[in-house]
């Protein structure tokens, strides 16, 4: 399985007024601010029209990730296996601590990654009828990398969590 460099390698076009500032509060990932800058540059690429995305999907992504707000750490829990047996199918769960009431609920959950050909993995729309702010899916990861989940709340605030995964290759494959 070839691991292709993220689109972030190309010069990204930021359509946002300014990239959302990420609080530099050393959350124990041991990563400096440079990586976060690269990450948000990658996020910026989402807003440059990708070749095959539908306009509606792009508009939803823009709505859910309005650049002016600060993305805070917390409330969101991104669960991924720390060591992935096969990058083709990686189970992922995102839960957000939220009462999911009319007044206070999660409106969207968005998943990004660092090293796949595209930085955007999926976006989920939720609401008060969701009951529980939790989604599970299975994703593809081309290489060991960081995955980020961002939740947008009904008050317009953004919260996030990230996870580092090590992706191993299967033994004895076809090629």
């Amino acid at each position: 399985m070839t691991s292709e460099r993220a689109v972030a390698d190309a010069a990204p076009t930021l359509l946002l007024a300014r990239a959302p500032p990420f609080p530099a509060c050393g959350e124990g990932l041991g990563r400096g601010p440079t990586r976060r800058l690269v990450l948000f540059a990658a996020v910026g690429v989402v807003f440059a029209p990708p070749a095959a995305a539908t306009p509606a999907a792009m508009e939803d992504a823009i709505r859910a990730l309005v650049g002016a707000a600060t993305v805070q750490r917390g409330k969101v829990k991104l669960e991924l296996p720390p060591i992935v047996e096969n990058g083709n199918t990686v189970p992922l769960t995102v839960t957000v601590d939220s009462p999911m009431s009319e007044a206070d609920h999660v409106t969207g959950i968005h998943i990004f990654n660092e090293k796949n050909p595209q930085p955007y993995v999926a976006g989920f729309d939720l609401g008060p009828r969701t009951g529980k702010a939790a989604v599970s899916t299975r994703i593809r990861l081309a290489d060991s990398q960081q995955v980020v989940a961002i939740a947008r709340l009904s008050d317009g605030s953004f919260w996030s969590d990230s996870a580092d995964v090590i992706v191993t290759l299967a033994a004895c494959a076809e090629g």
Partner: protein, 256 residues
């Protein structure tokens, strides 16, 4: 460097002398998979292999061939008629005087009793039908046991299992009898018990047969893989299934 070579040679010699896995130590590939992979297998509503089983269920009822018959027309309710069947395959076919695996058995039924074209190896339909039938034996112990008729084929399978092959010059036995549980470049080496075939292999992102998996193994040691349906392939399947005797069928299993 000399010490290293000597150590490797010694290790190989020691490894060659090691015996088969003791019955008490036998474990399914399930036990060597990570918790997420196991969770995927355990939940029938989230196991991607079950999509193939569902398709097989439809094919079971579909009329086919010149005789315009479905599997159901002869075999009725698969939950009773197919129960235990996959657990005893490969089985000896007196007409052909050799063992057939389940895929070949299905195709022989198609040509002989339905007047239909055989389904291609690794085709979606053949995998679905095989998975559906094998699924009816889920939980049942494998009953393949060599008798006089199967002995020569079993012996061939055993010989192939223990034979070094390929550019890497490794035998199946060296990894799966002698070094199971250890890691091969990040992946844990299982014992090679085909309890859950056709299996949903994450690497394939689809169902696949035991023969396909064996081909992957052989490519892994850089050997020329057996053609689908080759006598060596079926002999090896027979050997493996008997080696797995008594362990329960898990179809559709999920493996990395």
């Amino acid at each position: 460097m000399r010490v290293l070579v000597l150590a490797v040679v010694t290790a190989t010699v020691v490894a060659a002398a090691a015996a088969e896995i003791t019955p008490g130590d036998r474990r399914s590939g399930y036990d060597f998979s990570g918790p997420e992979t196991r969770a995927m297998q355990d939940d029938d509503t989230a196991n991607p292999g079950m999509l193939g089983v569902l398709q097989g269920e439809t094919l079971w009822a579909r009329k086919a061939g010149a005789a315009d018959r479905s599997c159901a027309d002869c075999h009725g309710d698969p939950r009773t008629s197919m129960k235990g069947v996959a657990a005893r395959y490969p089985a000896f076919d007196p007409a052909l005087a050799r063992p057939l695996d389940l895929e070949e058995r299905i195709n022989r039924c198609r040509s002989e009793h339905q007047g239909a074209e055989p389904l291609a190896w690794e085709s979606e339909d053949l995998l679905a039908l095989t998975a559906f039938i094998a699924h009816q034996s889920r939980g049942l112990p494998i009953t393949v046991q060599t008798d006089a008729e199967l002995r020569p084929f079993f012996d061939l399978g055993g010989e192939l299992f223990h034979r070094r092959q390929g550019q890497l010059n490794l035998s199946c036995s060296q990894c799966h009898d002698d070094n199971w549980g250890k890691r091969l470049a990040g992946a844990v080496i299982p014992q090679g018990h085909p309890t859950g075939y056709p299996v949903y292999r994450l690497e394939w992102q689809s169902l696949g047969s035991l023969q396909r998996r064996l081909r992957n193994c052989m490519i892994g040691v850089r050997a020329e893989p057996y053609e689908y349906g080759a006598p060596e392939a079926v002999a090896l399947e027979l050997y493996l299934m008997e080696r797995t005797h008594g362990m329960p069928i898990e179809t559709p299993a999920v493996r990395p």
